[in-house]
Amino acid sequence: MSIRIAGLAITLFAAVSIATSSLAADDASVKKDLFTVITLQGLPCGEVVRYTTKNDNDHVVVCKDGNRYHVYVNAQGRVVVEKQ
């Protein structure tokens, strides 16, 4: 019985760990994407420190240099980067 519980715990732990690392990878790719978008607009941003997602394709980004940007896709399908 105790072996079963231990096995279950291991499986759960493994699943959580894999999910966490996968989320971290996603997070890094979103940060990279947001950073690229900001720099493509010619705006300064040393590095994306964190971001909050408001909606689909709608983020508030905080850069390492202290700049904050609202990055979103408008109704015309254009990516807009607004300094806040």
Binding site: S2, I3, A6, G7, A9, I10, F13, A14, S17, I18, T20, S21, A24, A25, A28, S29, V30, K32, D33, L34, T36, V37, T39, L40, Q41, G42, P44, N57, V71, V73, G77, R78, V79
Partner: protein, 224 residues
């Protein structure tokens, strides 16, 4: 009771090791000797606008792994010596004086033979421009994020609008200015692709002039 705890410790160590591993995007192997019709990255004319761009995306072209043409040349140049001296160890055994005496006429005699494949490779047939395929590959590549792709698409559309306005006489600019904008946009795309999707970057470099050929010709431009 001991066995599960040992297994648990082992799994924990295993996962801890995985968690510390940085995420690496799959990289395509470098293309060793593929003869590319494209110019070297150094040949890409860096526009002044690109130099003035504050963006960190304007990666130095020197780091571009896009089809190094020098990589194609050495194997060809190295081929004749390999043919004349197939077994270096045997040559060493025979003595350096013997090889020195025997060798000089051989490369001279074999140079014309080696020259013909060189010229064949130096003049590769220019591949037909496949805009649809390039567009599809750009859409499907994982090297660029969704928002970045959308931003680039917007910038491409803006540039096409500029060309349209220029040909309609509504925009007071020169073809040289448009060329600068075009180069800058291509460089942005290449900077994004060169590390994560080198084959696509290479193909874009190869298509750069054909695409400009379409853009700069009002008749061809009207067809797109």
């Amino acid at each position: 009771m001991k066995a599960p705890s040992i297994i648990a410790t082992f799994m924990l160590l295993l996962l801890a090791g995985c968690a510390g591993t940085p995420f690496l995007a799959p990289r395509a192997p470098p293309q060793p000797a593929a003869p590319s019709p494209s110019p070297s990255p150094a040949v890409i004319p860096p526009t002044t606008a690109a130099a003035a761009q504050p963006s960190e995306l304007a990666a130095p072209p020197s780091t571009a792994p896009v089809a190094p043409p020098q990589a194609a040349a050495p194997p060809i140049a190295a081929a004749p010596p390999a043919a004349t001296l197939p077994n270096p160890s045997a040559a060493k055994a025979a003595g350096s004086t013997v090889t020195a005496a025997a060798k000089p006429p051989a490369p001279a005699a074999q140079l014309p033979k080696a020259a013909s494949p060189t010229t064949d490779i130096a003049k590769p047939k220019t591949p037909p421009l496949d805009l649809t395929s390039l567009e599809q590959r750009l859409k499907s590549t994982n090297a660029i994020g969704v928002l970045t792709k959308l931003t680039l698409k917007n910038q491409v559309d803006d540039l096409l609008d500029k060309f349209r306005a220029y040909y309609q006489g509504k925009l007071k600019t020169t073809l040289a200015d448009l060329r600068r904008s075009y180069d800058l946009l291509v460089q942005k795309v290449l900077a994004l692709l060169q590390d994560s999707d080198p084959p696509l970057a290479t193909d874009i470099v190869a298509s750069r002039e054909p695409i400009w050929g379409i853009l700069s010709d009002p008749k061809k431009f009207a067809t797109i």
